[in-house]
Amino acid sequence: MSTPRILEIRRGVLEKNDILAHHLRDQFNAAHVLVINLVSSPGAGKTALLEDTLRRLIQAGHRPAALVGDLATDNDANRLSRSGAPVRQIQTGGNCHLEADMISGHLSDWGLDLSQIEFLFIENVGNLVCPASYDLGEHLRAVVLSVTEGEDKPLKYPTMFHSADIAVLTKMDIAAAVEFDKPAALTNIQSVHPGMMILETSAKTGAGMENWIQHLITSREATFALVAE
């Protein structure tokens, strides 16, 4: 005969990922590497933003690197490596998001010396749902929203917008042409994440890029309490 029995567990389903992300963050902190997790829908302009960001950081004498998630191709890594920054592709083989163990595995295979870089960008898979649940050990989660996507996207994907630290609006150069309702977009972002910083950029014209670069540099200094050079 059998008797029912209750086993108490009380454990987070994603604890393995969270523990690994915690270790990664310790590693990044020790090397003073600010890690930025870029999330967005497919086609929002993450790669264009990143391409210009890498180029500008290098020009300003900084040392960035990038890990780029993609379902199947290495097109993005090829494009980004033209900036001169170390870039490595993570092909997820159809997986819709990056997890901490992929970051850790690729970092060790890559052989990147963390002490030689200041910024590590992780370009997540284009998807506004799944990546929200996975901590990658980042310091800053930036949600990228292009003006072509519709102002109500924050309301459709509140979990992602809420989990981000900063929203970067992209393709501002064509905002008027696509009749982007900026006040509505800003209101919707603030509704799902009150007080979140929002930056307006165009990687094409360079508008707003200086603010973004400055924010990254300031965040790194603040995170590691470095004295501004």
């Binding site: 005969m1 029995r5 209750i6 086993l7 108490e8 567990i9 819709c96 649940s133 979990t159 009150p194």
Partner: protein, 123 residues
């Protein structure tokens, strides 16, 4: 769709716990799911059956307790539950708040298991 990956994590944790406790078969798993966890309940239920096949959890029920987002309203000086995740403001006074007190949970609470009685009582 990352619910399959979530379901696999869930099954791995629960199955390991069941093995360690020497249970024969798990009949139910209780899970808390916050509205901000980024997981769709129905998808998770669907994936659970796939992920649990061939484990001690096969055929068990996944009992999901859904938790709303609860924020602390600095104006009302109390915690309030939100009916939607589209507006992080107090439903009473309208004040915005990022002070989340509940809603990110994705936690296995307990298992209900069946086990053989090693020393069955003989009346």
């Amino acid at each position: 769709m990352h619910e399959l990956s979530i379901a696999q994590n869930l099954v791995e944790i629960a199955n390991t716990a069941a093995q360690r406790a020497n249970v024969q078969r798990v009949t139910a798993v209780r899970l808390q799911l916050g509205a901000l966890a980024g997981v769709v309940k129905d998808s998770l239920l669907f994936c659970y059956d796939i992920a649990s096949a061939g484990t001690l959890l096969e055929g068990s029920k996944l009992l999901i307790e859904e938790l709303p987002v609860v924020i602390y309203c600095p104006q009302c000086q109390q915690t309030v539950a939100l009916e939607t995740v589209q507006a992080f403001c107090c439903p009473v006074c309208g004040t915005f708040s990022n002070d989340i007190r509940q809603g990110r949970e994705l936690e296995i609470l307990s298992l209900e298991a069946e086990e053989e009685n090693e020393h069955p009582s003989h009346p």
